[in-house]
């Protein structure tokens, strides 16, 4: 059983790590290169995630806006693990977008974490040699989130990767999104502590 005195240093270390990461994040976002990486990476991840859910894609040319009659109730109706019903279809030219508010929120959260990871990683990478670590890990941390997006509908992704679906495989897919969140937060903390304030 640990004492308060033993716990305090751990809490202190975590607090310091979070503060360090916040400083690194804020610093990265004040730099032009960091800001650019954040915007591009977040947007790209969000688009990939939404396309992975098949909520975004191409179709025949047209213009349309359809909204379901009870959007509030429909928005919270689950269609899969961490996936919810869409409430609107937007068609602009060849682009089709299904709007699912909760999927958008979740995708935006993941995309923000991926963007921050890469922004901080790039700033660290462009710093002193000792700090050139982490960008690969940061990018990899976002992959489970993308896979969780394409895990719907079967899941057909197993056909692509050549694995036969089973109860076990489906269970793994259900945990991909929480895994992505943990991995992204973990890598952000890990990369954040490697950024030297002087490099910002």
């Amino acid at each position: 059983m640990s004492t308060d005195a033993e716990r305090r240093p751990v809490a202190d270390r975590v607090g310091r790590l979070v503060r360090q990461t916040l400083v690194a994040t804020r610093g990265a976002l004040t730099r032009r290169d960091g800001k650019a990486v954040f915007v591009v990476a977040s947007a790209a991840y969000f688009l990939l995630y939404t396309a992975g859910l098949r909520n975004l894609g191409f179709g025949p040319w047209g213009y349309e806006l359809s909204i379901v009659s009870d959007p509030l109730a429909r928005a919270v109706q689950p269609v899969g693990p961490f996936q919810w019903e869409s409430v609107a279809l937007v068609v602009v030219g060849p682009v089709e977008l299904l709007v699912s508010p909760l999927n958008v929120l979740l995708g935006a959260g993941l995309a923000t974490l991926v963007g921050l990871n890469l922004a901080v990683s790039v700033v660290a990478w462009r710093g002193p040699t000792a700090c050139r670590l982490g960008s690969g890990a940061s990018a990899a941390a976002g992959v489970p989130g993308l896979l969780s997006g394409v895990a719907c509908c079967g899941p057909t992704i197993v056909l692509v990767v050549g694995v036969q679906a089973s109860a076990g495989v489906l269970t793994v897919f259900q945990w991909l999104l929480p895994l992505a969140v943990v991995a992204l937060v973990g890598t952000l903390l890990w990369v954040g502590r490697k950024v030297e304030p002087a490099a910002l």
């Binding site: 609107a88 719907c152 079967g154 056909l159």
Partner: protein, 361 residues
């Protein structure tokens, strides 16, 4: 071509479950009841109408129930269409080659496009005044019709042998589509009343039934209906053409390509499958279930086949101007023999449910 709906349009929501009833099922054992699905809050206890005779099952119900797995979506995560709307054939914008599931019942003729049903799997419809469910499982390539009485069917989210497991909103019993027999719940062992749904293409269906109505995309849900998550049929690709299955079949049978299409029939005594491509080429094929002869006859106009019991071994021939029975001209869909309900299915799914099935090619 693709149907584009009008700009800014509200769409409807799901209907409600009705009440009334038919006969019940066998009492489930204590073991079965321990694994029963929980009745949903909207379950009325009303069963759908069931058949007098149960169909042949190659495995016992407990074994089948033990093979049920989650398909990765929750109950009703794939929402059935409960308030379908239809339009005239002239107004539909479908490619001639697109698969549709056709139904003629009394004075009503309807087509249900595969591109819509792949996103919903079940349509709770009323045709010629009769409440029916038109169902489609994309993973097994099966389109089947069931009487539903006052009860609606929904998608449980579970699969067995890759096949859609439906549930009825009256008793919450679980019905694998191909088997048409409940394997869990209060109606375990009971068999639904079925009717024929023809898998064909829009061009062929419209040519034969120009007055047909077509299911519209106003389903009450927003979907990208041109986007099939599994592949495409026109031309075949993705899952529909691959020799791989998503889930391990209950049993494997290498007599045919896993995704080749068979016209299958099952009775109380057994199962029999005719290779569809061979049937369309030959016109007439014969097989047997437990020594009782069956004859399959191709209908070129719809690219489909009909199966008849032919216990007396009467002679069915393919002639230049059609078919003949003992020398008399007959139409493919109306031979004066007892019609056996048959439907298209992917071979792996048929063989998985009915190991040792007769196979004719």
């Amino acid at each position: 071509m693709h149907t584009r709906r009008s700009f800014l349009r509200g769409v409807g929501v799901a209907g409600v479950v009705g009440v009334a009833g038919c006969l019940g099922g066998d009492e489930p054992s204590a073991e079965e009841s321990s694994n029963e699905p929980t009745a949903t809050s909207d379950a009325t206890g009303t069963p759908p109408p069931t058949a007098e005779r149960s169909l042949h099952l190659a495995q016992d119900i407990g074994t089948l129930d033990g093979e049920v797995i989650s398909g990765g979506v929750p109950k009703d995560g794939i929402p059935a269409i409960d308030e379908p709307t239809f339009q005239a054939a002239e107004r539909a914008s479908l490619d001639d080659g697109e698969p549709v599931f056709g139904l003629v019942r009394g004075g009503d003729t309807r087509a249900y496009p595969q591109r819509i049903l792949v996103h919903h799997e079940i349509v709770n419809d009323t045709v010629d005044g009769d409440p029916v469910a038109v169902t489609y499982c994309p993973l097994t390539g099966t389109a089947q019709g069931f009487e539903r009485g006052p009860v609606e069917f929904g998608v449980s989210g579970d699969l067995v042998n890759s096949n859609l497991v439906m549930y009825d909103r009256g008793t919450d019993s679980r019905w694998p589509q191909i088997l048409a027999t409940a394997i869990d719940g209060p109606l375990a062992g009971e068999t639904l009343r079925e009717f024929r749904v023809v898998w064909t293409t829009w061009g062929k269906w419209r040519a034969v039934h120009p007055g047909t109505e077509v299911l519209t995309e106003d389903t009450g849900y927003t979907r990208r209906y041109g986007d099939d998550p599994y592949g495409q049929y026109n031309p075949p690709g993705g899952y529909y053409a691959s020799d791989r299955t998503l889930f391990e079949p209950l049993s494997r049978d290498d007599r045919a390509h896993p995704k080749s299409v068979v016209v299958g029939t099952r009775t109380a005594d057994g199962a029999l499958a005719f290779d569809k491509e061979s049937l369309l080429a030959a016109g007439v094929l014969t097989g047997a279930i437990q020594g009782r002869q069956y004859v399959a006859v191709a209908d070129d106009t719809l690219s489909t086949g009909y199966v008849y019991a032919n216990p007396d071994g009467r002679t069915v021939e393919n002639r230049a101007d059609g078919y003949s029975l003992d020398g008399e001209p007959v139409a493919a869909d109306s031979l004066p023999l007892e019609r056996a309900l048959a439907f298209d299915a992917m071979w792996f799914a048929w063989a998985g449910f009915y190991p040792g099935t007769g196979y004719v090619n």
